[in-house]
Amino acid sequence: MADPFDIRMRFTSLIRQLNASVTSSTKAAQYALKHRDHSDDLHSCILEQLEKSNMNSRANIMYFIEHFLDLANKEGYHEYMKMMQRDIIRVVDAVAPEDGSGAANIKVVRKFLHALQNKSFLDAETASQIEEVLRDRDTVTQDTVMSSPPTGSDNLGDMAPSQTMVSSSSHKKAPKLDRKQIEQRIEEDRERHKRERENTWAIPRLADAELEKLWEETSDLGEDDIRMGREEYQEWKSQVGGGCNHDKDERVGVNGKP
């Protein structure tokens, strides 16, 4: 049995290596579950990394938490969930800090909270409180975002970062995001999106779920259907009609020349 320090070090490195892939987060989650004796320790480890790392890693850790709680609950181990509920504010603060440096993460946090709520890892009251805080942070950016086109078409092209556009609080964000990070984030988001979509076809195990889904998805009869019908008719005509012509020819060949 590894000593607590060793476990902590290993888990830390697993958290650091998190990316958008499912395997990386599953690996970390399983490690944490295996060493549930040290759950306190490992939980603090998550928070620590959350506060230490960059914006992309925070998003990754956040997605990991959701996945991790899922697994923990499946295994009937609720300790981690309780600790996370207790520290949820801290998590949100770390991922979408007040200073605006995590503005790009606000959408992620919202999604995260929503998911937790759906899975009843989070009660509605807490969720709505956090949402309010987030909205505040969001409006900070909203107010300063290009809310209207530049006045007139005079030469504003090289205008220095204007006060109206970037607020003092969000000012710090720019330097923190370098090009590489942005591109990495884009790729990771795409990867996650792909994962999400892998489940879109799934149908709940209800009696008429499939029927309902089809019913929902099928649009009313309209112009498109008529058009499609016409095209199919044309195709049918060209295939079947052609065969008939052939037959006709043969018949003419046989009977037509007495």
Binding site: A103, M146, P149, L156, R185, D189, D224, E235, G253, G256
Partner: protein
Amino acid sequence: MAARGGYRGGFNPQQQQSRQFDGRGGYSQTSGHGTPASSFHGSPPAHSPYNGGGRGWNGQHPFSPHGQYPAQYPHNNYGPPTAPQNHFQSNQGHSPPYPPTGPASQYNQGSYRGGHRGGSGAFRGGQYASGRGGHRGGFKSAQWSPPTNSNAGRSPDPSHNSTHQSPNHHDKASETADVAMRDAVDDTIKKEPTKDDNSAAVTRAPPTGPQSQTPNKFSFSMKIATKPAAAAPRPEISSKFNAPVAPRAPAADSVQKQPPTKPERDRSGFPKNAPTEPASARVRPSDRRQPDQTRQPDPVPKTRKVKKIMKRLKEKPKLSEDLVNSKSVYYRKPGNESVVGSGTYGKVFKGLNVYTKKLVALKRIRMEGERDGFPVTAVREIKLLRSLSHRNVVHLQEVMVEGNECFMVFEYLSHDLTGLLNHPNFVLEPAQKKHLAQQMFEGLDYLHSRGVLHRDIKAANILVSSEGILKLADFGLARFYAKHRQLDYTNRVITIWYRSPELLLGETRYGPAVDIWSAACVLVEIFTKHAIFPGDGSEINQLEKIHAVMGTPNRKEWPNLIEMPWFELLRPNHRKPNVFEAKYKNVVTPAAFDLLAKMLQYDPDKRPTAAEVLQHPYFTTEEPAARQAIELKDIHGEWHEFESKALRREKEKKEKERAKLAQGQSSQKGDARATDSASGSGTRDRKRPIEGGGEREAKRPHV
């Protein structure tokens, strides 16, 4: 057997005939009765039973009205007939070319008469006669053996012998005969195709023979009863024969045709009856005709004749050597010569249908690195294309698996928009540009109304035929979308130069407006020959390019701007003005400018649909009206992005050499012109590289 023979011969001649026909050529039928067919074809098993029956028949023959049948039978029975067949087909090589025919004739003759034979035998020549003699006397053994040599494989020989020996056992023979007949028929069928030309000729002769025989028989026998009966059956037989004949390959027909005529002639010289017998040989429709004509029995046979004639008329198409050697139906030039495009999806080749001579584009589906079998993207593309049919959407003709590769076969178009716009001296007139644009939006409108997002509209994916017809191509990224609900899709689509701002900002819930943005970019290219947003391949830079022209987006114009997933990630540091007007207002007509400005709006909801675009004044009212670019017919060669790239590289090389030469000359002769022309061509060439540039590759998303 004897009983049967008697029935058939005397009573049911027609029935017999019909049976025979059904089995296959008239010959086989005859064989049915007397097993001649089987013997002819060389099917040994048939012989034995038949022979037994045949003997019985022989006795009957003189009596039996059916001259034809009986005649044949006897021959078969004897075994000699079979022998000849074998000889013909299998042994052709052994026996002189004629001999085969000879034997065939022998059969008939023998069958017909007892005494006729002598005459016929005489005709056909010494060969026959000798053969016959051999047959009849103790022929079977003698003749057969030779055939066996040739046809060693055939088991008929033994059977024949046995049958001959046991002629008395008619009953048994008859029983077996039926089976044998079937077998024989099968055999004959199989054999026919394998026969050589000579054999074929022989075979033909026989068919005619039988027909002629009947008449002859009649004449010989002069039996009143038989005549009418025979006449009636004939038409049926002929018709039946015809049917089977039809299936044969045209080539075979042509070969066969000639031979049959010869025998007939011979026959005509001789008694008509004589030639026929080879019935064993296949009855050819053509052969029949001639006899029929002479007889002029029924109209029906004539019609059949008509059919045959048509077959004769068919000429074997002649192919050039490379086409003949082509392993594929779609011939493509060796090496890289046939490549007309390549990309992440694989390669596109130009192919020529060897038979129809039509050009096709073969898109090879890449299988390398596919761990999960046939790529699902290709399946999606095929499925999509199969459901589309519009004059402005490229037509997928078929999907072909060849060797270990899979190809999508498209109609071939000579140009694509990139190649065309980069053409060194062909310049599109405004009316032609309008026509191209109109076709593009008509194609797009069709796609969108069919619920398809193209998701890779760009100049290089738009093909133009030499008649100026435009077609949207490359549906590798296309997908069906829900028209009445907003689903979310991947945002990693569309070549990045043509990617709309919402996609660049991470939107996954998008719709047809993304294609409109791309089409607008293409439209700018049609007008100016230059891409409007040529970024370096990264999302960040691409957005900067757009901002540089269209200004930075704002919430007033695009309320959903801040909802974009990556808005915070990619928000610009500087506010930029919209300089689109300054840049393009004077380059294009007023209506065109208005249309472009509408399509290049940041807010996808505000962009017009393809149908609305088509109703824009640019298309409906502004002069000049759209006009098809038929002048493309006169363009020399084909202009694709791929080719123009290769050409450019080559020209650059040549240009260097020329420049060197020119320098040398100018220095020597002091001729200024040379340098001028060299530098002139240099500038022209340089323009193209800028457009087609190597950056294109980077634009394609890495999937």
